[in-house]
Symmetry: C3
Subunit: 468 residues, 3 copies
């Protein structure tokens, strides 16, 4: 038996499984559109080999190593760099062995499924990883990575990625994107404008960031008007490097639409470094509306990723810094929070604002009703902890009845784990195919419409939502 | 293949499907009890033909046209009247064609299922509506509506509606109900007492409404005692026109049980037009308890529909007014909110208060535990966005284990779309039959009990909850 | 047909059912570990016969009698003692008949399943309880209870209970546990340290309780240090009577980690009886962190049961007191609430804190992400209203993908209904077996891993979480 079941994630009933399989077959080999994620553009610019199995699968992926940490494995033993530069494990083989020893923790998890998919479909393994074969696994992956066909660009092409969006801060010089564009490689790697560092007064170095923002744009970012113009300039720069979208990671979905003189006064406080937590929150909210207005002007799709309580453990944040698996979702309300922005731009037919949530209770109660009414709103796909078999199924079951399929936006992998991209899209396609098959089998959809929709969900809605 | 699958919404497994079908067959043709909804009593009083297909299916039903609006279709092109009386599309055929062009938006939605059910079972169509056949559809429906058998009373009888409750404001003269009662037609169309306009200090024209309330009842509604008496008088008037229930649409489930002198002082503030938002909210809460106490006196069932954020879009409210598809659910808490009312009347064995929610998270956490304890409380059925195949299934799966079947109240269609009534009850019967079949198949219920319960859910619980 | 279907709670699809049955068979007869519950240790210390059917099944179990109350049956007629000592039904046969008359209320509920399981597997009934056979049922149970094989210790042994934890307050003298330990019976009945009465300033008699706490421990509980030492002393006393865990029933999950001088000042206020509601809440929060620190010292597992709104009905509380079926879950947030405690001890690899919730929305949004990161945290099983077929299924479907199986802690029955213990564990085993079978059938788990996990969930995780 292979590592991955060819019929994985399909329904059990024979007839239903047959239909799900047929629907999946019709979309299985469609090119991958990855309109939002966190891959490193340097990989594709330089096209160097990936260093070793541990640095490919374990240490950069906090959704893998946090599971070991949750069972008492120390980050030091996993080679996760410390803030104080203190000693951590340096031997990738030892890290890999520690990972193999705890592979059972991933039973029943999406990470487990993605790992097995990569092991089989990228590296050709047929046996699951165990303590016993950990060294063989390591050697085989390491040898394979040395081959030209396993360099980033070759993998990108083999994965049939039609377009991959990365995410860069507003101050990024986009050198890797420029290098990719100027190269002879035809792969489409585009950037996304993520201005949190110059929008969030609580961001580390916010005031310095604004100064740098001014230098980069030649605008006077000490004034509200200059600051807004700097965004316009920078958005255009990002569009020149392929960007079709912006992205906003906020603790809540709060928006504001203050009179411009009040917004300017709030900005003055923020830039002075003297604004309160409440004022910082209001400023972030104001900036979502400003960004939405700029999207009406320049056509960029706007993504709002709200509701993560970042760096929850003070101890881990102090010892190891950001992005170490301690980002915890929190309750997130959208109905009142989005109203100021929606009153400003919600009825614009050519604007696209994509909403992402980590609070599944908002799917049916808030997001689907909102997306099923406002022309400017669409639902982003199931996000983060929920881009899993059960998570995507719940997403479809809860949202479709209220906002239909056409107010959704296809799939995002949102990953920094490059090898998992085909695995993640495959899961999404299988779950959608199964959902469509169930609608047909229960008389809620014709078979013809199901085949059409399978392609719409995989391709068409992504292209239109992100203008690809 | 017909437009609607004869086995729609049943489980896929053969044995299970057979049992679900048998259970459904036992209730399929039972008369419809529609104890809560928003049909227009004028239809049945005057018995005029429905004007045309667009005015039957599209323009009055904001849960149809909002889906087109969400994809950028303008309300003007859909013929939705403007507040300013500005020009909107007047040709019902053009509106119908625009609707047909976007019919794919309803794939996988309950609206889609209800529309197809009406098209096939009311108008005899066997092909789905498309752009190509839109004119044929229009002509056929229009011709059919001209026939005597398709006038409102004939349809009411053919739909086998045993009782239909409409909903009227406290100031309504109930002329259409009187006309129906005095007519030679035997159809049972009853009213429901909905006093929001004279209970909610934030309602448009509240103070004027109270004056009118005084005129209608001959009570001095400028005093707290006179005001309460006016409610008693008006409730009796509604009972004379068939009402067995009251209905209360509040933004939250807040209740209060203030000492009567404090309640009187709050009323004095409200009637002076000077109460704050917080005081208005408290007054609404107080009135729920007062209404519950009157229900103990006069036996009327009390319905609380809480948790909708009405008219969310300021722009749409300004241009097109209320009920345009922009009512968005919000989080709603019941545990603390209902305590004052429940401390006052919750243990009354002969009182029935029906709770409806748009926040599904409260089913298992709050509503089922409350209904499974307090004699006065029962759960209303899945409401609004959730009276769908998946919504009703979730409702049963989450509530039954905690409060059983007997603390629920059967089905409500809650619709103003007359032709969808049989479709909606059919969905409910199919989903309940499927749920019962699953309980039997998983050893949680005997087959005999399942057949008994199918009828209990369809008929008995509705009759007892609404005293029909 | 027997009262309980041998294939109950398994999936319907034949192949899937076969696998679920095989998985269940592999764990069906494993000994029961009951690490948290509310049985009375006196039963096993004295080993007297259970008095009669009504006192075995109805009057002590508020999750049975509340269902009758919810349909208007009076507590007096059910023989529930009144606070004022007023007359209530004394004839257990009449109570039993009233119970039998309403047995249909339990259709589709876990109570119904547990009752039938006990009726068949403990008392040998093959026909469901009805009004007609209520007297025969009564007589048979009553006669059976008179047999030596149906005394508490014999039932404990026949149920194959390997370990049963009861729950005692900090002031309990543990006399029954001492008597069990000193007896010649080998059954393992252990206590659990539940200090709410000396931790919660709002608890009835808190100040007196602290005085008694001082007497029992010989510590000066009028000082913060003495008070903390008293807890240490008392925890050791409980450990001497078998305790491996503490338990904390708080209205919310709030924790605090104040500087010790501020904590001492808060304690001084609490002991003076003058602290505000907010200060009482803060003090409870502080004590969770203190208890966690003591658990780091002494190795006791810490259980937090948060989010119940106890004694919701003021009228019932006044007439009949605590634990009468009117405890209602409320919304409960963990992310911010637990942060102070987690910042203090969350990364301790040898500490185990088990979190229980009545708010299922927190499974995926908060608890699984937290347990999937912090070494000290594990998820307790589905609790109270949710330790049911659907509840446990939702628990697995929502938590597993984010925190895996190994951050959970097996099953708790948490009951005071002794005869239901085998029934409850049986439900859990069947639902887990079915869940594992579905993972296998959908290619998310190998069959070998599923068999391993079935045992891990039933036994290993309980033993490790509770150090049994």
């Amino acid at each position: 038996m292979p590592l991955t079941d060819p019929d994985r994630l399909f329904p059990y009933d024979d007839a239903l499984r047959g239909l799900a399989r047929a629907l999946y077959s019709s979309i299985q080999t469609l090119p991958i559109l990855s309109p939002h994620g966190h891959c490193d553009p340097q990989w594709f610019a330089q096209n160097k080999r990936f260093p070793n199995p541990a640095e490919l699968f374990v240490t950069p992926d906090h959704y893998v190593f946090r599971m070991l940490v949750s069972q008492g494995v120390s980050m030091d033993d996993l080679g996760i760099p410390r803030i104080d530069g203190g000693p951590v494990e340096q031997d990738p083989r030892k890290i890999w062995q520690l990972f193999a020893k705890h592979i059972h923790l991933f039973h029943g998890t999406p990470s487990g499924l993605w790992l097995n998919h990569s092991f089989e479909h990228v590296f050709g393994f047929l046996e699951p990883l165990t303590v016993e074969n950990a060294d063989d696994y390591y050697d085989h992956i390491d040898t394979t990575l040395a081959m030209d066909e396993f360099r980033p660009r070759a993998m990108f092409d083999r994965f049939k990625i039609d377009c991959l969006a990365t995410t860069e801060g507003a101050l990024d010089d986009l050198r890797w994107h420029k290098q990719i564009i100027q190269s002879d490689w035809s792969g489409r790697v585009i950037t996304t404008y993520r201005p949190d560092a110059v929008v969030d007064p609580e961001f580390e170095g916010f005031v310095d960031n604004l100064a740098r923002f001014g230098e980069l744009t030649g605008e006077n970012t000490a004034t509200w008007d200059g600051y807004l113009t700097a965004h316009r300039v920078r958005r255009a720069f990002f569009r020149d490097h392929g960007a079709t979208a912006t992205d906003h990671g906020h603790p809540t979905a709060r928006t504001e639409d203050l009179p411009q003189d009040e917004a300017a006064a709030l900005f003055a406080k923020a830039i002075s470094g003297r604004c309160t937590l409440a004022e910082a929150d209001a400023f972030r909210g104001q900036m979502l509306t400003e960004m939405a207005r700029m999207s009406v002007e320049d056509g960029m799709t706007m993504q709002i990723h709200a509701g993560s309580s970042r760096n929850h453990s003070a101890r881990v944040f102090a010892s190891h810094g950001r992005d170490k698996g301690f980002d915890i979702p929190r309750r997130c309300d959208f109905v009142d929070a989005l109203k100021p922005m929606l009153d400003a731009v919600g009825m614009e037919p050519d604007l696209t604002i994509l909403l992402f949530t980590l609070d599944e209770t908002t799917y049916g109660r808030e997001l689907a009703p909102l997306a099923g009414a406002y022309p400017a709103l669409k639902l982003g796909p199931a996000w983060w902890f929920f881009d899993s078999a059960e998570g995507i199924k719940r997403y479809r079951q809860i949202t479709t009845e209220t906002c239909g399929f056409y107010n959704t936006a296809g799939f995002n992998d949102d990953t920094r784990a490059f090898c998992s991209i085909p695995a993640r899209h495959d899961v999404s396609r299988r779950v959608d195919a199964s959902y469509l098959a169930e609608l047909v089998a229960s008389g809620r959809l014709t078979e013809d419409d199901a085949f059409d929709l399978a392609k719409v969900l995989t391709t068409d809605l992504v292209k239109s939502a992100y203008k690809l």
